[in-house]
């Protein structure tokens, strides 16, 4: 599995891992983040 050069959609949850955190991680692995979405279930 490789992330470098791949495109990523990050779907986070407010009380889980938020989308911006996922995006930081993905970017640090060389991915391009297309979309950051957060969900809240309450």
């Amino acid at each position: 599995m490789e992330l470098r050069g791949k495109k990523v959609i990050a779907i986070g949850e407010r009380d889980g891992v938020q989308a911006t955190a996922i995006a930081e991680v993905a970017k640090s692995a060389g991915a391009e983040v297309l979309l950051e979405l957060n969900q809240c279930f309450v």
Binding site: V17, T20, N38
Partner: protein, 491 residues
């Protein structure tokens, strides 16, 4: 007993539930599902009676007849463990019936928007009189004839059948048993922000919030004219097409509650607003601008029946059938040992970022370090106290538990507890969720009602109130928000 005038104090908290099973069909999720085949009859079949809502253990906790921690020992499912002899009044709250709700809606209505049949209004008036929260003048207003909107074709409005309405048709109101109650009309013609469903939502919020203020005033034996300022912290939007979120439902509530010498404004920060508002109320009092500030959050009609699909799938009653409202009075310190620690406010900033580590550093570690406290020095953390019996069957998890695990993990990372103590943290420093899923209402503050007597008698030293807000839902930012404040006992 040491007193401390360097901080404002909490003088009282009131927690009110308004049982509204008939309005559940107009919650956001139900209104989108009810058009589908067979859903309405399933919903009708799963509504709870007033007695069941009163006996429901989390609701008894909400009004103060039991401590939140008592729920650990109540056999699950809680909805099958109704408390025998449960009363609709508690030390700091009450559960209002749907029969009374129709009267409260008429009381909240200044524009002839709400029509309710005379018999139901007479019944509401009688019950509201017995409940003892309202004045004789209020009770007269409950049964006053609805003023006809000028030039309106009234009979067409009254007969229109739209279950939801985008045009000028009225929204029909039904009781829990499906019988017709009346209707809610449209505001300004051709104003999409004043459709009957929007006005219904705002009136329900106003009515429940004002009821919470009245409950608070009665609890403290306070003249309503003692209140200087009312800070709203709900998530409704009051306005018209030129100013959709104009606001100040707080002042409308103050008027309905008889607080003739108050003005008000609304704090808007999604579910984080209550803690923002509590801090602001404290700051207004401590600076001497006002002496008595009420923080109030009205109920959220939009959230009724939010998790209905999960409940129906599991043959559960529809537990999201109550509008929940909270009112808190903040006053000058010095006469009470309870302190609202304005020097320990945790804030989540724009730069904080979205990682759990950064969020909890801002909301927990930073303020506690300022107060020279360890995480384990806080007796109780009040987080978002959503009732897990509502959220878990719908796949939305146990929100308080998730938050307690995060705080515990933080404590473990700091070496204050062992990793093997993370699970036990919620029992030691937390509580089961017990609050209806009404957005800003579960945001920490209902626990303040329980904490207050314990802070006064010394069985609790300090509690940290943490709220979070999902700002990203409004599509203006991807950020969340958070704020925390410590409430403790001078020693």
């Amino acid at each position: 007993m040491t007193l401390d005038a360097a901080y404002p104090t909490i003088r009282g908290v009131a927690c009110v539930l308004v049982h509204a099973p008939g309005l559940l069909r107009y919650g956001s999720k139900p209104s989108r599902e009810i058009g589908k085949d067979g859903v309405l009859s399933k919903v009708q079949g799963a509504l709870r009676s007033f007695d069941d809502a009163v006996a429901y253990p989390p609701n008894q906790v909400f009004i103060g007849n039991h401590a939140p921690e008592a729920l650990w020992d109540v056999p699950e499912p809680w909805w099958r463990s109704g408390i025998a002899g449960a009363k609709p009044r508690g030390p700091f709250g009450e559960i209002v019936s749907e029969d009374e709700l129709w009267g409260l809606m008429r009381l909240a209505d200044e524009f002839g928007l709400v029509r309710v049949g005379d018999e139901r209004l007479a019944r509401a008036r009688e019950l509201l009189a017995r409940g003892g929260l309202w004045t004789d003048a209020d009770l007269e207003r409950v049964v006053r004839p609805t003023q006809r909107p000028a030039g309106a074709n009234v009979s067409a409005l009254e007969r229109s059948e739209a279950p939801t309405s985008g045009g000028d048709g009225a929204l029909q109101l039904y009781a829990a048993d499906g019988s017709h109650v009346g209707s809610v009309g449209h505001g300004y013609p051709d104003d999409a922000t004043q459709t009957p469903d929007v006005l219904l939502e705002n009136l329900a919020c106003k009515a429940s919030g004002a009821a919470a203020i009245r409950s608070l005033l009665r609890q403290l034996a306070l003249d309503p004219r003692e209140i200087d300022y009312v800070l709203g912290c709900g998530e409704e939007a009051v306005g018209d097409r030129y100013q959709r979120g104009g606001g100040s439902i707080s002042k409308a509530m103050a008027e309905m509650a008889g607080c003739a010498l108050a003005t008000g404004s609304d704090v808007k920060a999604f579910c984080c607003a209550p803690v923002h508002a509590l801090v602001m109320a404290g700051a207004l009092v401590q600076s001497g601008v006002h002496k008595s500030v009420v923080v109030v959050g009205g109920g959220s009609l939009a959230k009724l029946g939010m998790k209905m699909l999960g409940h129906l799938a599991k043959d559960m009653p529809l537990l999201e059938d109550c509008l929940a409202a909270v009112a808190i009075l903040v006053g000058p310190g010095g006469a009470s040992p309870v302190r609202l620690r304005l020097d320990t406010v945790g804030k989540h900033t724009v730069a904080s970022g979205g990682s759990a580590g950064a969020i909890y550093a801002a909301l927990v570690t930073a303020p506690l370090e300022r107060a020279e406290l360890r995480l384990t020095d806080v007796d109780k953390y009040a987080v978002e106290l959503h009732n897990p019996e509502i959220t878990v069957p719908a796949g939305s998890g146990n929100v308080p538990r998730t938050n307690y695990r995060l705080i515990a993990s933080l404590a473990a990372r700091r070496g204050e507890i062992g990793r093997d103590e993370i699970d036990a943290f919620e029992r030691r420093h937390g509580m089961p969720g017990f609050v209806p899923t009404q957005g800003h209402i579960p945001a920490a503050l209902p626990y303040l009602a329980h904490a207050l007597p314990r802070l006064r008698d010394g069985t609790l030293r300090r509690a940290l109130f943490i709220a979070k807000g999902s700002l990203f839902l409004g599509k203006m930012t991807n950020m969340a928000d958070g704020m925390s404040v410590l409430v403790d006992r001078a020693s």
